[in-house]
């Protein structure tokens, strides 16, 4: 279970302004919101890649900022992070990239053959042919393949939690559907707890047990996909419904134009 308690983070402007959220064991929660509302920042606080100014993040009841020596390392071994552009290591081939997903100690325990068979299995799980990709460098793969290698790296170590940072951004509809299906099948097969930051609302509503909407650093909505679809909140409506989104965008543009007109009038 992941617990976010009163998480605040400020860069030049406040990004997170008191986020409280529980992600339950085995559930898939999608985090949606407009760009720049702090979704990826919240995800990064989960494994200490960004340290909140205030508040706490707990995994299985232990704060990831605990003073206990090795606590963060221990927590990180339970969690895997799928980066927006996969963040594969350029100088390492696919095998070497994926093997990094298995903690060093665990890899030593398993032995060479078992490690290789797990890597092969995880690549097959993400619909990649190990015979073709295993020795390839990331630069030799397409964007969609790189994302899938990133997924394989995340699942090979059998983590308890997977954090997905915009896993379908920049992908065509076919690859988007493939990656969304993979996230769902990984969650169903392994009962892993998943937090998915995404702009793909349809995918989020399809794959998630719950959806959370972040706006200006605060949670505006947390509920099931059904509750999300039926919400009366204008912001939620704007996300749930393309027509409502278009109307909201139009209203925003009109408001901006009115502001500009007022400013020009004042100057005149």
């Amino acid at each position: 279970m992941i617990e976010y308690r009163d998480v605040h983070k400020r860069f030049d402007v406040p990004v997170l302004a008191g986020v409280n959220l529980d992600v339950h064991e085995g559930e898939t929660l999608s985090l949606v919101g407009t760009s720049g509302t702090g979704k990826s920042v919240l995800l990064k606080t989960t494994i200490g890649l960004i340290v909140p100014d205030r508040g706490d993040v707990k995994i299985d009841g232990e704060s990831i900022y605990s003073d206990r020596p090795g606590a963060l390392q221990e927590i990180r071994s339970k969690v895997r992070y799928v980066f927006q552009y996969a963040a594969l290591f350029d100088s390492l081939n696919v095998y070497e990239n994926v093997v990094m997903g298995i903690p060093e100690e665990r890899a030593k325990e398993l032995g060479r053959d078992e490690v290789l068979s797990r890597i092969v299995r995880s690549l097959e799980d993400v619909n990649l042919d190990p015979d073709i990709v295993l020795t390839k460098l990331p630069a030799e793969l397409s964007g969609g393949m790189r994302k899938r290698v990133g997924l394989a790296r995340a699942i090979v170590g059998e983590p308890r939690i997977i954090l997905y940072d915009e896993p379908v951004t920049g992908l065509d509809p076919v690859n988007t559907a493939t990656v969304n299906r993979l996230i769902m099948s990984i969650a169903e097969r392994t009962r892993v707890t998943s937090v998915v930051v995404t702009h793909d609302i349809e995918g989020a509503l399809e794959m998630s047990d719950r959806v959370a909407l972040l706006d200006h650093g605060k949670l505006k909505f947390v509920g099931t996909p059904e509750e999300f679809r039926q919400s009366d909140d204008p912001l939620v409506r704007a996300f749930a419904d393309r027509q409502a989104a278009a109307e909201a965008a139009l209203r925003l543009m009109e408001a901006e134009n009115d502001k500009d007109d007022d400013a020009h009038g004042a100057l005149a």
């Binding site: 200490g48 990180r76 980066f83 963040a87 990094m100 997903g101």
Partner: protein, 264 residues
């Protein structure tokens, strides 16, 4: 505030900001050095990675180091030959070429080659890794970038630079000898007589000591600047330029500090 007060105040503020930035970098490098030392002592650094980096820095830089060494020797020899003609005994040229190459040109020119070939590459490489979240990925996978990325580069730099400087010294002196023979007709024996006349064994140690210090400063600056890169491709370009400037200044300042500390 009058413009007369404003300008010095602005200058003072800029100076303060520069000092703060410089201190921050020096502090960052000190912490990085301590972490690398800890990772090395605790045996976390892979020998394979050190060897890989040593190959990249050493063997791959060798042709350019040899060319630079040869040219340094030739230029010193020609310059000295021109100045000494009919005023100072020509065999002194052997000493001038040997001392100039061993004490100064060998270590400094090799360092400049390494700054351009290795230092800039390290900053750009690590900077790209930082902006493409590969460093974050390492942390998220429970791996520390210090033993994985920083330590092999620093150790390889400290290992290969003295060897490269030794080679640059040898080819530089040899090129000086050949050039002296070709341009001012100074024979091999006379050249070697002059070289031996003012030779101190300490000079070679001094040269290799310089190489070791430069072999530390070039990777540590480039690694530090790479790891702190942010701001996409523009950030990588900015930090690579800053890193090169920082490395050149550091090498020149340290080079100026060496004679009063170790030659007098």
């Amino acid at each position: 505030m009058s413009p007369l007060v404003k300008a010095p105040a602005r200058l003072l503020r800029a100076f303060g900001r520069a000092c703060l930035g410089f201190s921050r970098h020096v502090g960052g490098m000190a912490v990085l050095t301590a972490r690398i030392a800890k990772a090395t002592v605790s045996g976390q650094v892979s020998l394979r990675m050190i060897a890989q980096q040593a190959f990249e820095m050493g063997i791959a830089s060798l042709p350019l180091v040899i060319v630079t060494g040869i040219l340094s020797g030739i230029v010193t020899s020609q310059q000295g030959g021109y100045q000494f003609t009919s005023s100072i005994p020509l065999y002194v040229l052997g000493s001038v070429v040997t001392s100039s190459v061993v004490l100064e040109l060998g270590p400094v020119m090799t360092s400049f080659v390494l700054i351009g070939r290795v230092g800039a590459r390290i900053t750009a490489e690590l900077g790209t890794m930082a902006v493409s979240e590969q460093i974050d990925a390492l942390y998220s996978l429970g791996r520390d970038p210090v033993p994985f990325l920083a330590a092999p580069r620093l150790l390889a730099g400290m290992l290969t630079t003295p060897i490269l400087v030794g080679i640059a010294n040898a080819v530089g002196v040899f090129a000086g000898l050949v050039s002296a023979q070709a341009t001012v007709g100074l024979g091999t024996e006379a050249f070697l007589y002059g070289a031996r006349l003012f030779w101190h064994s300490w000079d070679l140690f001094y040269s290799l000591m310089k190489a070791e210090v430069f072999g530390f400063i070039i990777p540590i600056v480039s690694i530090h600047m790479g790891l702190i890169t942010h701001g996409g491709a523009e950030g990588v370009g900015r930090n690579t330029t800053t890193s090169v400037v920082f490395m050149i200044i550091s090498v020149l300042v340290l080079d100026a500090l060496f004679p009063p500390l170790f030659l007098n």
